[in-house]
Amino acid sequence: MSDLTRLTAVDIAKRISDGDVSAEEVTRAHLDRIAAVDGKVHAFLHVDADGAIAAAQAVDARRARGDELGPLAGVPVAVKDVLTTKNVPTTAGSKILEGWRPPYDSTVVERLRDAGTVILGKTNMDEFAMGSSTEYSAYGPTNNPWDLGRIPGGSGGGSAAAIAAYEAPLAIGTDTGGSIRQPGAVTGTVGSKPTYGGTSRYGLIAFSSSLDTPGPCARTVLDAALLHEVMAGHDWRDSTSIPQPVPPVVEAAKRGMTGDLTGVKLGLVTEFGTGEGAEPGVLAAFNDALAALTKLGAEIVEVSAPHFQYALPAYYLIAPSECSSNLARFDGVRYGLRVGDDGNRSLEEVMSLTREAGFGPEVKRRIMLGTYALSSGYYDAYYGQAQKVRTLITQDFNQAFEQVDVLVSPTTPFVAFPFGSRTSDPYQMYLADLFTIPTNLYGGPGISVPCGLSDGLPVGFQIMAPTMADDRMYRVAAALESAVGTLTPPSLEG
C-alpha cells in the first residue's frame, strides 16, 4: 500500500504545497487503493476517476503558476451519495434514483471544488439516510474495515469506512439522528455534526429538513476541523442557513492538541446512565477516556437532562413525519424511476407502483409512520406532542450549558454489530442512535472521536456543545485524541 494513503489531510496538503508530491500522484494512489480494497469494503457507489484526476491536475497547474493554494488543495475527499454532484450519479442509496445525474452541485460540493479538494466519488449509505448500518442501501451494505462481517454504522457507513480503509483521507457525511457520529464511532474515525444551519442543505436530498446537517469525517480531529471550515458558512440558497461567521474550529483543534483542558467543565448526563444504557465494554472505554480528560485538567460535573429519555420517541415521530412529506417528490414525473405506465393506468396508479418498486422497506415504514403521525385525529397526540418534547429537550440543553462547557457521553450504546442482527426488529436498530439524537433535536453540534477498543472493536466518545459553539467540542476532541491516540484497523490485504 502506498504511504500517501496513510497520511493525514494536513500532511498531504503540505507535501503538495511544498512540491514533494503532485496532487495527481496523491489522487492516483487513492484510486489504486480503492481498486485494491473496495471489493471487500464496498464503501463507494460510484468512483469518478476521470473527474478526480482532472481536478488534481488543475491543482497541479495552479501550483505551477504560483497561485496561492488553500489549506486542503489537492486533498482527496469522498462524498456521501445524498449530496448532488453535477453530472455525476447521485442515488441516495435508492433504486428510485438509479442512474440519475443531477443538473447541479450541492453547496457543500461546490465549496469542496472551490477549495481545490479532489472528489473521488460517492459513498454508500442507508436509503435516503434512514438506518444505522447501511443494510438498507438498495445497492448492498458496506463492510466495516475492522471486521468485514460487521456493520460500518449508518446511514453514512460508506463515508466512514472509506476513511477507515485508507481509501480517502476525508469524507462528507450528513447527520439527521447520528448518521455521521455513529459510523465514526464504530469504524474508529472522527465524525462531526456541525450546528444545524452551520452547513448548507442546498442540494442535500432531504430526509428530515429540520434536522439534516452535512458535516466532516476524517481520521484526525484537526483534519475534520479543516474540512469543517471549508464546507461551512452562510448560504443564501438555504433559508435555514445561519448568517454568522463559522466558529473557529481549526484554531480550537490546535489549542486542544496542546493537551491542556484546565478549567473546562465536562457535563455527564445523569439520565444517560439509566434504563437502556451502553454495553459494559463501551462504558469501560468511555470511563477510561473521562479519566484521561481529567488528567488534562478537565472537571467532570453531573448534570440532569430529564427529558433526554423522550428524545428517541420524539425523533421517531418528527423525522418520519418530515420524511413522509419530503419523499412525496418521488412521484415518477420529474426524475428517477417510473413503473407501470402502460398507457391505461392513471397517474395515481403509476405513482403507487413506482414508489412500491423504488423504495425499500425502511423508507416505506417511515413514510407510513409519518403519514400516521400527521393524520388528523393523531396529529396532536403524536407529531404535535413530539414538537413540545423537542422544546423541553432544548431547555434541558440550555440549562445544562449554564453549568458546563460541553456534554459528554458514549457515541453509541454498542460497538459494530454483525450483519442481520437488528434488521428483523426495526426498533432495535433505532436504539443505535440513543445518545446522538438529543443533539439533533436541540440543533447544536456533536462530534465522535475514537477513545479505545472493546473486544477489538472501536468505541466512540461523543462531545456535545452549545449552538454555534462548535469550536468548544473540537478543542476537547483534539485534547482527547492527544491523550489516547488514533486507531488503526487490521490490514485488508491478503
Binding site: I242, Q387, P426, Y427
Partner: protein, 99 residues
C-alpha cells in the same frame, strides 16, 4: 392491544401512494405496531403549556435581493425525466376517460 390494525396500515399505504403487497401488509402491521407503542411514550410528558419547536434556528421571513440569477435550462430540467413530450414532462392520464 395493538396500536394499529392491518386495515389501518392498508389505508396508510394508500395515502402514501405505496402499492404494497399482502405479505408486506402483514409484516408492516406488526412492525409499525411495535414502533408506535414505543414512540407513544411522548404522551407521558406533561406538556400542555409548552410551545412546540418546529425548528432550532430562530429565523423568519428569509428573503434575498430581487435580482435575476441563472437557473436550469429547459434541457437540463428535463434531462432526468422518465418521459418527455414536446419539451414538457409527460405524465400518465390524470382524469378518468369520458364515457
Amino acid at each position: 392491544m395493538a396500536a394499529i390494525s392491518r386495515d389501518e396500515v392498508a389505508h396508510l399505504a394508500r395515502l402514501s401512494r405505496l402499492a404494497v403487497t399482502e405479505q408486506e401488509l402483514d409484516t408492516f402491521a406488526g412492525q409499525l405496531d411495535v414502533i408506535l407503542q414505543a414512540v407513544a411514550r411522548v404522551g407521558e410528558v406533561a406538556a400542555a403549556e409548552i410551545p412546540p419547536t418546529s425548528h432550532s434556528v430562530p429565523l423568519t421571513n428569509v428573503l434575498r435581493e430581487d435580482v435575476v440569477i441563472n437557473c436550469l435550462t429547459r434541457e437540463e430540467a428535463l434531462a432526468g425525466a422518465p418521459d418527455v413530450e414536446a419539451d414538457r414532462f409527460r405524465v400518465p392520464r390524470i382524469l378518468d376517460e369520458e364515457a
